[in-house]
Point group: C2
Chain length 113, copies 2
């Protein structure tokens, strides 16, 4: 995962809004039409549509027309790159702690001599 | 973790930029002075300072003055709420799959009768 990955920026940007996170949580339960997603937000439909576009561009949801209704569904695997990036950071950090640990141990052995 | 958590929005917003992610990756290895963080970005110092402010406001880094130098350090536990939020989404999704599974199994038993 490159640090300059534009998809990763798009993904984190999509998650950086409470309305968009609430929509994702709702869709994790089951797919839903746009009007049903809009209702609990208290926002106007065009605003909700803009949020849905951001989520769709980030690959987090897919939308499909069913007659006159647009139905949204979660794409759960889309969160994987964000999760991987965080795991990488943790791995770098833990490697650092291991090095510190090894350093302290060798210093202690040195003083015991 | 509330879906309206402003800290979570700030956290994801901080992660939604490649320069800021590169700085975090660098700091996961060890603390570093601002000038050293700025060098590989190719950005002007005031721009880098703005990125550092966003990271600090999100709680992802801490900064301390050492003489005339400002040194930045990662706050690794600050990523935990973002990780928890993703884990929650996965749990909701998996509960849904379990319900679907139970439904299909009960339907199959119904047809066998």
């Amino acid at each position: 995962m490159s640090k300059h990955d534009p998809d990763l920026s798009r993904l984190f940007h999509a998650l950086a809004d409470p309305t968009r996170r609430a929509i994702l949580t709702r869709l994790a339960r089951e797919p839903a039409p746009v009007t049903e997603l809009a209702a609990p937000t208290g926002l106007r439909l065009p605003t909700v549509m803009r949020h849905l576009s951001v989520l769709e561009e980030a690959g987090l949801i897919s939308t499909a027309k069913a007659g006159r209704t647009r139905v949204c569904a979660l794409v759960p695997e889309a969160l994987a790159p964000a999760r991987s990036w965080m795991d990488e950071q943790r791995a770098i950090w833990e490697a650092r702690l291991d090095r510190l640990d090894a350093f302290v141990t060798s210093m202690m052995k040195e003083t015991e001599k």
